[in-house]
Point group: C2
Chain length 372, copies 2
């Protein structure tokens, strides 16, 4: 290792800015590139080539500011396939063992982590150490403390950290936020937000069923969408939560994680959000009732296309590629050296995990859990 | 009182049939009329001329087998108005004090009780003593024990007892039952059923806000529709319930009864139903997710008109007068001396009150309450 390595440099940068409120300066490499912002794209390496990576590749292809430049995978056949399909050079293809060498690869700006949940923290820390910006899929990690470690690591490394909160880029959800936060129909009183997929045919060894890799069942995998929608429609943080585990109808599959769960969030305004997340059936709906009207989506929280209406009539918004819009916004912020919008930054992921941790505690203890 | 009064006769009839499984024979008067079934109608006296009586009068007018023959009210002005509007003779108009004299009035066959909830039990018992069939609005009473007393009193008096469960007569709900119970889309796993109306402008002395008259808040007034829909879609009785009172946002109004409540019912098949009932906003929706599809209504549980769809497409059912259809079915059973269908009989009301009592206990204690 050279006496003044990139890693050492980044660590010193991090210490230099400390807990400053302004975004730490970009790395020397990024600084250099920032002089030519308009002409370049953010070069992304996808870390974990599972189901969601296949959704993201279309998003990257449809984006204006992102380029699929590299891959990290443990499966040689996938590596060959993706390198061929996207004309990725061998030098930009990593295994989980060789991943840390990415620190020496200026052709990669950002690592998008779509690994099983249980690996989010480790690979975020490793990507930050390698001086790469990070987008990590939800759930960001298993605990707010782990989220904070990831935030701190990225800040110290002078890289940006985003959570893959795609819904913020769908016009239907932007409208939900406007209707709720601007009180277009008055104060929102009751939200119902639920999401579920039937996993009856899933192989019993799928990582979604393993506590160590998934962190939990549908609450961990899907719950954040319900929690987020309530938080951003109300523009408030929940004060308390009650929650209930549902019965296990597929005991051969759900040995380690919950099969379904219901919960109720209590907000400072007096608004409530009730939600179900389940792995034994499909559900995908959002409804908000306010003093002088309502608004709703169904489908609501999946990849869309969404269908919505309010007391004033049906929504008429275009279908967008959520992933492309999300990637382009993140890329534009990175290219112009601006801090990421707060609704997709690591801190937002930490807030969500605080709520999700509270939901699990409430369901486990049967007690109402205060979140403040 | 004559030595062998109608009341004495009815009481003896009741004792004679005891706990027999067959319906007790109709009273002598009804027997006599039964010889001429096709040519006559059931003569109804409406007991309590409030908001719902005004809905029911349209239902009676639209029915084929019912006639609005009498009234019971504590308000002289209402008596005058209704007698004029419906050509009701003075002899068929009662106050709550003179009500028991209805025993001597062969022009009244049935008393439809739309009084505040807290009076349902008393007036059912009094109507039964007077030898009149009874339809009592929901909630049937405040406890399953009170419901049982009402059932017993009507059986002993040889009169029929129905609960005003109008939704069983709407084709949308008949379809929900078919889809759920016949497992058209496989086993139903999750139901969301919620109903609420915003009562912000209600006078603080309205009976709906008084514990003694209302028995509770929106759970008591509206909750039975959510509970029923889950029960009849699944064709099962819940095993257990968890429940939560929501915050009070209108403390000037909601001093005695809950402003809103959420609960979760757990059924033997493993299905769950989550519900909200509220007095601080409007909500009116039903959704059922099954293994191979879904079905839903919105509006769902109010007076309609309903709008529904399933994974196979939009429902296309006529708008019916729920009250007229309900009244005609009850009337036809009474006229032909058949026991009422089980889904609207008193026993069904008792089952619902058992669940509602459990919901209140779960919300009050914070504990899961077993219902078996």
């Amino acid at each position: 290792m050279p006496p003044f390595s990139r890693r050492t440099f980044m660590a010193q940068m991090g210490r230099a800015v400390g807990a400053s409120l302004t975004l730490p300066p970009l790395s020397a490499m990024a600084q250099q590139r920032a002089n030519n912002v308009d002409k370049r794209k953010v070069n992304i390496a996808l870390c974990g080539l599972g189901r969601y990576a296949n959704v993201l590749k279309a998003g990257i292809a449809a984006s204006n500011y992102c380029h699929l430049a590299g891959i990290i995978t443990g499966t040689p056949a996938k590596a060959t396939q993706w390198m061929t399909e996207f004309n990725i050079p061998h030098k930009n293809s990593y295994t989980y063992q060789t991943f840390d060498q990415i620190i020496h690869n200026p052709a990669i700006d950002l690592v998008y982590i779509t690994l099983p949940n249980g690996l989010h923290k480790e690979f975020t820390l490793r990507a930050a150490k390698a001086g790469k910006h990070v987008i990590v899929e939800k759930p960001m990690a298993f605990t707010p403390q782990d989220c904070q470690q990831m935030i701190d690591a990225c800040q110290q490394a002078g890289v940006q950290l985003a959570v893959g909160y795609r819904l913020h880029y769908d016009p239907h959800h932007i409208e939900l936020k406007r209707l709720g936060q601007h009180k277009v129909f008055g104060q929102v009183r009751l939200i119902e937000a639920s999401l579920g997929y039937r996993l009856a045919g899933i192989p019993p060894d799928d990582w979604h069923l393993k506590k160590a890799l998934a962190g939990g069942g549908p609450l961990m995998n899907l719950g954040v969408y319900c929690v987020q929608s309530a938080r951003y429609v109300l523009g408030e943080e929940p004060l308390a939560v009650t929650a209930q585990f549902g019965p296990v109808t597929m005991p051969d599959l759900f040995r380690e994680v919950e099969e379904n769960i219901t919960w109720q969030l209590y907000f400072p305004s007096g608004a409530i959000c009730t939600s179900s997340c389940t792995s034994n059936c499909s559900i995908d709906r959002f409804y908000a009732s306010a003093d002088e009207g309502y608004f709703e989506l169904e489908p609501a929280l999946s990849y869309g296309p969404f269908k919505g209406r309010s007391s004033q009539g049906a929504f008429d918004f275009p279908v967008v590629n959520q992933q492309a819009a999300q990637l382009d916004d993140i890329a534009q912020h990175i290219l112009s050296k601006k801090a990421l919008p707060s609704h997709i930054a690591g801190e937002e992921g930490r807030r969500d995990m605080r709520v999700i941790e509270g939901i699990y505690r409430a369901a486990t203890t049967g007690q109402k859990v205060n979140l403040v």
